[in-house]
């Protein structure tokens, strides 16, 4: 057996002796995650069920100088949750989320705390109290929201994949619904417990300083195993004190659409505070012919585009008072049609948006250019022109979010699970990257759906400094994801190895 192999056998025996579940069998199934990138097949996967087992695991890893790569459920597309062959993949899905036997049992009732960490009672809370749920890293937004909904509350920042773990959301500093109001996930965390390392072994640290937490968010597993978090929760906005609106514009000139939409977004960003700002391009084929939305008296019209032109639709949702300026702003742009929506109509349009990102009808996600940010919305027109020049005719559609710090654009071609289709979609992505990721367009490949792997090659230099400081502070033994520090790590697209 190769050296790494021998090491893992010893490690596995030690961990098994302490009752920590390990899997060393056929592990090609762990070669990748939702990013579909891969660094090869890990030779050991470990499933700790609580903080104590995480500590034992880090102790052994430091003693054996074996790298650990933590993973929530691997539903993020950042690629930080895939392990190189020599590393041990740590599935954190059960940490703080299972019973003494390590089973995820039934329905979950979260503990509630206030800002000072003292237990709080949700039934007696008032809507603007600052409250948090104290949850294990393995818990997910879905199950937490299902537990909070009867009491009228919800997790403040919920990424689109509601089934990702809080640990994962924190590691990637995920954005989602509620981000415009509460910021990315790291902003909405009041306290974390993290198993860091030291030359002698594991150290359990409790971090309460919000600035430090904000810095740690998006650490992509570099600094340790987060085991518990206090995650901000917010009252569910009731339909009557909520404003939903849709703004749409049609034109044959993509650049004109982009410029107008960009200007509109700048105005909205400066004068409104909203929970959700989403945009998508709608064409005749985005939903199935028999989809009931086509027959909706209000929404049906959007799905009948005039041939030869494209239609952008921007959806906003926020508190009525915070969105008062929106109708006025819309009037400043005569080409943009403004219409208020009910919450159910808003949700119907959101389902169309989710479908458009290839998450429900598409065949296979082919990464490569699925996530970048346009810092200056004014240049949104030029970006769109460049995009449509490349992707015209392909099956995917650009969609994205309007965040205060810029316009985030996703593009994910939908490829059938066949070799030719996968290769072709991959090549399209490469061409799109060259066309769009250019400094003059103030675009930055956020890889938040891919940044995980090229942490120190892409992204702002300031971010690199922060991450290096955190690495020194939390992981002097350099046990956690050391492969992220070497920019040369060769991530590959696993899809083309499919035997289809």
């Amino acid at each position: 057996m190769a050296v790494a192999e021998v090491e893992h056998v010893a490690m596995e025996r030690i961990l098994a002796a302490r009752g920590i579940a390990c899997d060393r069998g056929e592990l090609r199934g762990y070669a990748s995650d939702a990013s579909f990138l891969t660094l090869g097949v890990p030779s050991l996967v470990v499933f700790p069920k609580d903080e104590a087992e995480c500590v034992a695991l880090v102790d052994v890893a430091v003693k054996h100088d074996t790298p650990l790569v933590p993973r929530g459920t691997g539903s993020s597309t950042a690629g930080q949750a895939i392990a190189p062959p020599r590393a041990v993949l740590v599935d954190m899905e059960r940490v703080g989320a299972c019973d003494a036997r390590g089973h995820r049992r039934g329905l979950f009732a979260p503990d509630l705390v206030n800002a000072r960490g003292e237990p709080a009672d949700l039934t007696k809370a008032s809507p603007d109290d600052e409250l948090y749920v104290r949850v294990g890293a393995g818990r997910t937004s879905d199950e937490t929201n299902r537990a909070l909904r009867p009491l009228g509350w919800t997790v403040a920042v919920t990424p689109s994949s509601g089934y990702s773990t809080f640990g994962g959301n924190f590691a990637t500093n995920a954005r989602g619904s509620g981000t415009p109001a509460y910021g990315p996930f790291g902003e909405a965390v009041n306290r974390i417990r993290i198993v860091a390392s030291s030359p002698e072994g594991a150290r359990v640290l409790e971090v309460k300083d919000r600035a430090e937490i904000r810095a740690l968010a998006g650490h992509h597993g570099l600094c340790g195993l987060v085991t518990e978090l206090d995650v901000r929760i917010a009252p569910i906005l009731r339909a009557e004190d909520m404003l939903c609106a849709v703004l749409s514009m049609e034109s044959s000139d993509a650049e004109h659409i982009g410029a107008t939409a960009g200007a509109l977004m700048k105005r909205v960003a400066s004068s409104c505070r909203y929970y959700a700002g989403e945009f998508l391009f709608i064409d005749g084929a985005i939903v199935r012919p028999d989809d009931p939305i086509r027959k909706d008296t209000v929404l049906g019209a959007y799905f009948v585009p005039t041939p030869g032109s494209r239609r952008i639709v921007i959806l906003y949702r926020g508190r009525t008072d915070a969105m008062a300026a929106l109708p006025g702003i819309a009037k400043e742009f005569p080409e943009v049609a403004f219409r208020e929506l009910s919450y159910t109509q808003f949700q119907a349009m959101m389902r169309v948006r989710t479908a458009a990102t290839g998450k429900s009808v598409a065949r296979l996600n082919v990464p490569g250019c699925e996530d970048f940010i346009v810092q200056d919305p004014a240049l949104f027109g030029k970006v769109l022109a460049a995009m449509f020049a490349v992707v015209a005719g392909a099956e995917g559609r650009p969609v994205g979010h309007h965040y205060p710090e810029g316009v985030v654009v996703h593009y994910r071609p939908q490829a059938k699970v066949e070799r030719a289709a996968i290769e072709e979609a991959w090549a399209l992505n490469q061409r799109l990257r060259e066309a769009v990721l250019r400094p003059e367009l103030t675009t930055e490949d956020r890889r938040e759906h891919g940044l995980g792997l090229a942490l120190f090659r892409d992204g702002p230099a300031s971010r690199h400094e922060i991450l290096r400081r955190l690495k020194a502070a939390y992981d002097p033994a350099n046990v956690f994801c050391p492969h992220l520090l070497e920019p040369t790590s060769e991530a590959r697209f696993v899809g083309s190895a499919f035997r289809v």
Partner: protein, 394 residues
């Protein structure tokens, strides 16, 4: 700034052999590795090493030999993963096809966990010149016939009580006949009837399934009946959806689950539930009746039609209902007891009767309650829908 991530030069799996049948089923839909299936999977909740998502990616990369024996047989084929999957990956169908590929190569003699009993009874019933005596369980006072327009398909019922002694499966049959007789129907219970082949199909014995399907189809078509009723969810999913693929469509024959017949008979006034049944009940959607056959409403309608019954839904029902812990008798093991404890705790928190519409869910839950539960469990009676309905007859 373009730093394209190069397409994977060396493929991970050794050689790109021709994809097997199972992989073709899988490849029609695309897995986006979002892990929703593994979160929904009842087996994964108690056995973290079992992950449907890992098996799919492994199948894409590894091909025929990449599914190890543990993963292949631990799957309950309950379909909760497919219900949760955003791209509807047909995972149970993939597992079924893979079992056909790998079954003979495996050391496991009889995958049927009850010591091979269900397997061997099905094999015997697949033999041509079998002269069964299938009416021993029909007590006097119940009228059945050799011919008529309604067939009551009983499947393996005559053989269940011989082994599964902790609940009376034939009681379901008797209740069904009592209801039908009350509605003026004298059902056909034929000695020519064979096991419906559900376990054979789901345990990878395709040949046995097709033999049984053809044998059953020939006598059913020969009987000239217009309606076939069964009280078993597994028989229902076989006869209604799987048989047509092997023996062609049932032109002129309607396949009904007993709950559907009861709803129809109540609507037509042929059956009156006059005697109240004082019971607080909750309903377990059998996977083969719910997710596999999309029949959620009829059983609930029956429960609502029975006077005196207070019906409380569990939290996870219909497409998200949790399985009873054993699929096609092929995977009852050390983890099953925790799954059953979880589901029965949820049921016991809502009612003191758990009603289900499949004799096999009832057997598996009764086996657990009859043994020693792993944690304290309030007393819970496991009742069949048809038996409950029969109690309400005048």
């Amino acid at each position: 700034m373009t730093n394209a991530v190069p397409v994977l030069a060396a493929p991970i799996s050794q050689e790109a052999t021709s994809p097997d049948a199972a992989l073709k089923i899988l490849a029609q839909e695309g897995c986006i590795q979002c892990n929703k299936c593994t979160f929904a999977c009842p087996v994964h909740r108690v056995d973290v090493l079992f992950s449907p998502r890992k098996v799919i990616l492994q199948a894409y990369l590894g091909g025929a030999d990449a599914v190890n024996e543990r993963d292949l047989w631990a799957c309950l084929t309950c379909g909760e993963c497919q219900a949760a999957c955003p791209t509807q990956v047909p995972y149970p169908a993939f597992i079924r096809a893979k079992r056909v590929d790998l079954r003979d190569a495996m050391e496991r003699g009889a995958p049927c966990k009850h010591g091979g009993f269900k397997d061997i009874v099905a094999e015997i019933m697949a033999r041509p010149n079998l002269k069964q005596d299938r009416r021993q369980w029909i007590t006097d006072g119940l009228k059945v016939a050799d011919s008529g327009d309604t067939i009551y398909f009983t499947g393996c019922m005559p053989y269940l009580d011989g082994i599964f002694s902790y609940c009376d499966s034939a009681e379901i049959g008797r209740a069904a006949i009592r209801i039908m007789n009350a509605a003026g129907i004298v059902p056909v219970v034929a000695n020519a009837e064979r096991c419906c082949g559900h376990d054979a199909l789901w345990n990878g014995k395709q040949a046995t399934f097709e033999t049984l399907a053809k044998a059953n189809a020939s006598w059913i078509r020969g009987s000239g009946a217009k309606r076939l009723v069964t009280t078993c969810a597994e028989c229902y999913s076989m006869l209604k959806y799987e048989y047509p693929k092997v023996v062609g469509p049932w032109d002129g024959l309607e396949v009904l689950h007993m709950s559907e017949l009861i709803v129809r008979l109540v609507e037509e006034g042929k059956v009156k539930f006059s005697r109240p049944v004082e019971a607080q009940v909750t309903y377990q959607d059998p996977c083969r009746l719910g997710r596999h056959a999309k029949e959620y409403e009829a059983p609930r309608a029956v429960l609502k039609a029975i006077p005196g019954v207070t019906f409380v839904e569990m939290d996870r029902v219909k497409e998200n209902a949790m399985c009873c812990g054993v699929g096609a008798y092929s995977n009852c093991d050390a983890f099953t007891k925790f799954m059953q404890q979880e589901r029965l705790e949820e049921a016991a928190s809502k009612a003191d009767h758990l009603v289900t519409a499949c004799p096999h869910c009832r057997i598996h839950f009764s086996c657990y309650v009859d043994g020693k539960p792993v944690d304290p469990l309030p007393t819970l009676k496991i009742v069949d829908l048809t038996v409950l309905a029969a109690q309400a007859l005048g």
